[in-house]
Amino acid sequence: MPRLSLLFLATLLFGNRAPVAAQALARPPFRWGGDAEGGAPFVEADPADPSRVRGFDVEIADLIARGLRREPQFVQVAWSSIPASVERGDFDIGLSGIEDRPDLRARYALTIPYFEFREVLAVRPADAGRFRRLGDLAGRRVATLGGTMAYEMLVAEKGRSGLVPVSYDDDVHPYTDLVAGRVDAVLLDHIIAERSLRRSGGFLIQPEAVATGHYVGVFALRDSMLRDSANAILLSRMADGSLERIFRTWNVWDDAQAAYFRRVAGGASTSAGTATTSSQLIGNYVPALLRAAMITLLLSCLAMALAAVAGVAIAAGRVYGPPVVRGALATYVEVVRGTPVLLQLFVIYYGLSSVVRLPAFLAAVVGLGLNYAAYESEIYRSALEAIPRAQLEAARTLGLSELQALRLVRGPQALRLALAPMTNDFVALLKDSSLVSVITVVELTKQTAIYATNVGSWVIPGALCAVVYLALSLPLSRFARRLERRWSLA
């Protein structure tokens, strides 16, 4: 994301151009973290001056900073990393459409909710009549942004109705995939849904909200006093209409928001749920991690099987084929090895979707399998060429056909030579399989990231994840070593 890094640099360099009050000069800037990739109306790069950001979260940050008599300073951070970054001390407050969730409330000092959003269901127009609520979507694929309240609702609903949650890293592709028919519905905040509807269209939003949620600012627990000051500022700006003006500017003010503000003014509690303890969370997540580990294992095995079969075919073509075939296969190998697998996954899943619409898991198997096939083919090719020519001639003088010589003499010996590098590649593939989360497959690493976001720490999830990866790869290495020892005689 070079654009964002530039933006971040530019903000650091030029962000202080606004006239500042004398008192503000004496105080450190009020650093706030947000994700400009999230876009309007939350935080987006100002089209008129991309070194600045704008959006209602930007204005709320300004409002709080002014109330604290400090100068606001924007820090770009990936949305899913905002709580972890505030904990690290990268900035004072995180603000970027962050949802008020019990797990977050347990680990951070959250502001009072400053906005009430509705979780709404987006469906294709043809399905408007039959998919009205989550309960109607049994067995259907429903997309959302990973690590959100909506995602948790979908996971909970999965247990009830057998709906299939599909997690995305961004909030644009769920809607394009809905229109493309890859998913049957999208559950997300009404602000995001309406924005997507304006931008691209092709779907409709069910009027009945599935749930309501709130946006909050996130402080580290140690900053709870600063949080209290921010709360006082937010309450007074709710009362004096400043917040309403901001939301009206960004076109997100409606009757529901007015009702919510009245409730807050009346002192009604908005904080929902009770904190979940981390031990409960671990218990909740272990089955999910094991499921994700199974997906990683299945994906890796299928991709490696494809890579092995395609690799043998490519290697055989390059060793035995006519010059045209040899040239074409060499080009394939060079192109595939010379470009990032991430790019290839994007092209197969999104780029080719107008030609062939592969389900995410299949696209992941095909993408990884064809990528690794290029590497495997080189292993097989060099292994085939390592078998002495005299042995192949001996096979011919015995009357064996070329195919028999390949099957009985050259192939088995080449396989022994290829075993060690193949094992190496399989272990690499096991870990590369984490890349497929970009095309919505929730495998071990992705599930761990979701888990880490929930518990607000990478220590336990990271350790658990590492243990599972090792548990998958170590037996494989052992098996390969044993096989090698057994074959080393021959």
Binding site: Q391, A394, R396, T397, L398, L400, V409, Q413
Partner: protein
């Protein structure tokens, strides 16, 4: 290029064999006959083209002109015919390679049975029975379960001979059979080859080992400048050389000493050990 429709001649006959490598003529009209039951040593210095003659006969190497007849099969100049049209030749000619070229992933037994089972469709029992008999005859049956890597040079060569003989070819080609053997093993090999010839097989050996040729060959053909320049009985050609190429071949001091000491072909064999596993 046909392996069929030619009169069946028992002998191995090479007529006017020509092979060119780029602009360089390697063989310029080689003529050679090997009869069943006869051991013929094709001799010459390194690079004289001995191996090329053997490879052409085994259809591993195309030749530009000439004819090769083997037991009713015929090869003519041009590109190599497909394997499907070489079945008759393959049945008649076995080959033992210089570095024996055993299949490293198979035991000695499986090396010997591979051809009969897969190329000739024999049942495994029959192939193993024949293989066991051959390995016994060659003195390596107790090594039947060993992999090539576990065999000594002499053992590996005898397994390679057994492998070439398993389909029962009438002719056996051997490329530099003594290159990896110590003197004792050479004597044993000479005896083994005499025994094979006594069974009626024709053997063509490419070698520059004068001692060995004297010890076992009936006939010697000297290859130089791409043609056979001298030919006759082993003792006659090698003890009274009448061509410069033969004299060159004999000109190493060791050979001269050996020749002075030996009056006939059997002398060296009697000095050497007998075939046995080390």
């Amino acid at each position: 290029m046909s392996a069929a429709g030619v009169p069946r001649t028992a002998a191995l006959e090479v007529h006017e064999l020509r092979v060119a490598r780029g602009d360089r003529a390697v063989l310029r009209g080689v003529n050679l006959v090997v009869a069943p039951g006869e051991i013929c040593a094709l001799m010459g210095t390194s690079g004289a083209g001995k191996s090329t003659v053997l490879r052409a006969i085994a259809a591993l190497q195309p030749f530009s002109a000439g004819r090769i007849h083997v037991d009713g099969a015929m090869l003519v100049g041009g590109p190599l015919p497909p394997e499907s049209r070489l079945r008759r030749l393959r049945n008649s000619v076995g080959m033992v390679f210089q570095a024996h070229a055993l299949f490293e992933h198979l035991t000695a037994m499986d090396n010997v049975t591979l051809g009969p089972i897969h190329a000739h469709g024999w049942p495994r029992e029959r192939a193993e029975e024949v293989a066991r008999a051959l390995l016994t005859e060659l003195g390596v049956v107790e090594r039947a379960g060993a992999y090539p890597r576990q065999l000594s040079g002499g053992e590996a060569q005898r397994v390679a001979i057994a492998r070439a003989l398993a389909p029962d070819p009438l002719f056996l080609l051997m490329d530099e059979p003594t290159s990896a053997l110590d003197p004792a093993r050479r004597g044993a090999l000479a005896e083994t080859l005499r025994a094979l010839a006594a069974e009626g097989r024709g053997l063509l050996l490419a070698t520059h080992d004068v001692d060995f040729a004297l010890a076992c060959a009936d006939r010697v053909a000297i290859l130089a400048d791409g043609v056979v320049v001298d030919e006759g009985s082993a003792v006659g050609v090698l003890t009274q050389p009448n061509h410069q190429a033969t004299r060159d071949l004999l000109s190493t001091p060791i050979v001269e000493t050996a020749l002075r000491r030996s009056s006939g072909r059997r002398a060296i064999v009697e000095d050497s050990g007998t075939a046995s596993a080390p």
